[in-house]
Subunit: 195 residues, 2 copies
DNA sequence: CGGGTACTGTACCATTCGGTCCAGAAGATT
DNA sequence: AATCTTCTGGACCGAATGGTACAGTACCCG
């Protein structure tokens, strides 16, 4: 290994660039040309780094899940409270309606929408990602229950799934072009269901 | 006009077939070949019926909005109560997880996800569709308020948007591969927010 | 400095994409 | 039956798709 000429690109950056592209444009929507432009790689280097467009996509999606879950876990860990974590996450999703550039939404959701269940491998990645994110929300609910901001007799798994579903709903409204104010206001009824 | 050979296909059926295809596979995901197979038209007839793939897509999306809103309005009109209407709609969305075949979700949402905001015309159709569906939900909330199942002091517009957002969330969970039971259970916390 | 390794750019490939065109067949009207 | 209109199938188009092959070259190690 690694006898000879060393890599001239940063594999992590390249994977991230590929991920960003797939995230924004979806699988069918991103051409090889787009990927090359985004990564800065030549075609040969690209096919040496990833072995195909599909493989690149799989890796990108996996990378996305990884990044997302660790980021969320960290956020939950450093949050003042479970309740505040939940509210922050929901509001930040609503906040995507603010920035002028087109909202990317959640890549997992985008992928799930594009490949309904046509690709078995992709489906597996999606359900796995959803499961892991759900666990984080369940943990947040449990923490809020310990902190007595959510009633202890509620089912944390149910509420965790409810929150994930609500988050996806918010993101959908963002993509559909609703105004930031209208979307942010939805956080109130959403969180009312937790009480 | 209409002197000469008459149409051999039913324009309504053809538009519907095109809509189904775009609904399932999205815009990029549907090739001309797919459309021809679905509609049964020859290439010439297709380009005579619609003038381009884009035009067909616009018409299909418009047709979808039309169909959806009239169906929902009718459902609300014949429903026993506003509350029951809301519950039925949410549960039927959850029910899409039951059928073996891949869930199509809501075409408006699918389109909004595929074209974030890249196509101005499409964006307009999407926001317009969302607006119209929202109005139906708002009407349902108002009716439920009259029927005293939802408190009169709540903002019906807010709750209507909340319901649409929640519905989209449910559909997302369906697409992500969650089980029917898990999704149907979400209806409880969702509707709890209305109380 | 020489040899081997592995990256880089380009030319090339078959296929499919959306779309056009045209010759001809089929039906309605007279 | 003549004629006029309009639908139909297939040939054809340029461009872009994902992917491969190859020659050249930059780099590390001995």
């Amino acid at each position: 290994m690694s006898i000879g000429r060393p890599l001239e690109y940063d594999p992590a950056k390249v994977l991230d660039a590929a991920m960003q592209t797939f995230w924004r444009r979806g699988y069918e929507g991103t051409s090889l040309h787009d990927l090359l432009a985004a990564t800065g790689l030549s075609k040969s280097s690209f096919y040496q780094a990833f072995s195909s467009k599909q493989a690149a996509f799989h890796q990108a999606l996996t990378h996305y899940c990884e990044t997302l879950t660790t980021r969320l876990r960290e956020k939950l860990r450093t949050a003042d409270s479970g309740w505040e974590f939940i509210e922050t996450v929901l509001l930040s999703a609503a906040g995507e309606a603010r920035a002028g550039d087109d909202p990317r939404g959640c890549m997992i959701v985008n992928v799930a929408t594009e490949f309904s269940s046509r690709d078995a491998q992709v489906s597996e990645l999606v359900t796995d990602g959803v499961k892991r994110v759900t666990l984080i929300f369940v943990a947040a609910v449990r923490r809020a229950q310990k902190e007595q901001t959510i009633a202890a007799d509620k089912d944390p798994k149910l509420l965790g799934r409810y929150l994930l579903s609500s988050l996806s709903g918010l993101r959908t409204m963002v993509k559909a072009g609703s105004s930031h104010g209208a979307i942010a206001a939805l956080v109130i009824p959403i969180m009312a269901a937790l009480k």
